[in-house]
Symmetry: C2
Subunit: 168 residues, 2 copies
């Protein structure tokens, strides 16, 4: 199972980006997200509500002490950062591991994270977005199979070439 | 060349997400982004500043009339939406086209967009993030080659397994 650890959430500034991290993690095959930084129950509720309506077993939780989450994790710990080594040089090795903690930062990642991770991986060495980096990591890890994952939720999209349709 | 059209930008609410759209577009191989919605010069400046410092020829601009941008585009027009057809069923065909306009929404996408696009494509039919969807589209379009694109900017990351280093 893949667990995402989102560091340094700020209630006001990061509400929407952190929501996108959670929803992208869920949609692209991760099993859980742990938020650190400021506790934000509305954020947790919004992710849980999507899971309830759209299906799957994704879990969202809060942990104040991110060091504990990293230290206590028994799988491989991957920190996504523009300062890391190219993902394409390490992903084959990481793919062999069943349990992966994917650490993604907010604006400023505390220095110790780099040393606590087993891998510091870059999705390009250009500045961009933790949401985009997470998406590509998951897509590479699952080799695209995540795109056809079944969620069996109460809400479902009815496939159409043009237009919008949801079955309830 | 790939051009991204970001619809419905709202200065206050979307500042950071729209920035992530622009930076992810640039880092993952697109050539330009056009923002519609509210005009936001700070947003344009921040994307241009990254391009100036980190290299490449990425262009950011504003266009009030998104219909004009879509109608006037001479390549293939791809709208990313959770209501669309699975990306994995259409990407091979789209990959053959050199010029692609990738349309990504904000909170509410105007109905006509669905009909004006040549393709409405879903990166999973689950709710998640336009940044994640854009990232996976670009990664699939370029088959991962975007990850090794050279930018030759003034700023560059010096590869290291642990820690942070930028050369100036």
């Amino acid at each position: 199972m893949i667990t995402v650890l989102r560091l340094g959430h700020r209630k006001k500034r990061d509400a929407r980006l952190s929501t996108h991290c959670g929803l992208a993690a869920r949609a692209l095959g991760a099993g859980a997200i742990v938020y650190s930084g400021e506790r934000d129950d509305r954020l947790l509720d919004s992710i849980r509500k999507v899971s309830k309506n759209w299906g799957g077993k994704f879990r969202a939780s809060y942990e104040k002490d991110w060091r504990k989450t990293i230290r206590g994790y028994r799988g491989v710990k991957v920190h996504l950062t523009m300062y890391g080594l190219p993902i394409e040089t390490r992903i084959a090795k990481i793919r062999r591991r069943r349990d992966v903690l994917v650490i993604i930062g907010g604006e400023k990642v505390p220095g110790p994270v780099y040393g606590m991770a087993d891998y510091n991986l870059a999705v390009t060495n250009q500045p961009h977005s933790e949401v985009a980096a997470l998406a590509i990591f998951l897509h590479e890890y699952f080799r695209g199979r995540e795109l056809t994952k079944k969620f069996d939720g109460r809400l479902k999209i009815v496939l159409q070439e043009f237009g919008k349709k949801i079955s309830i």
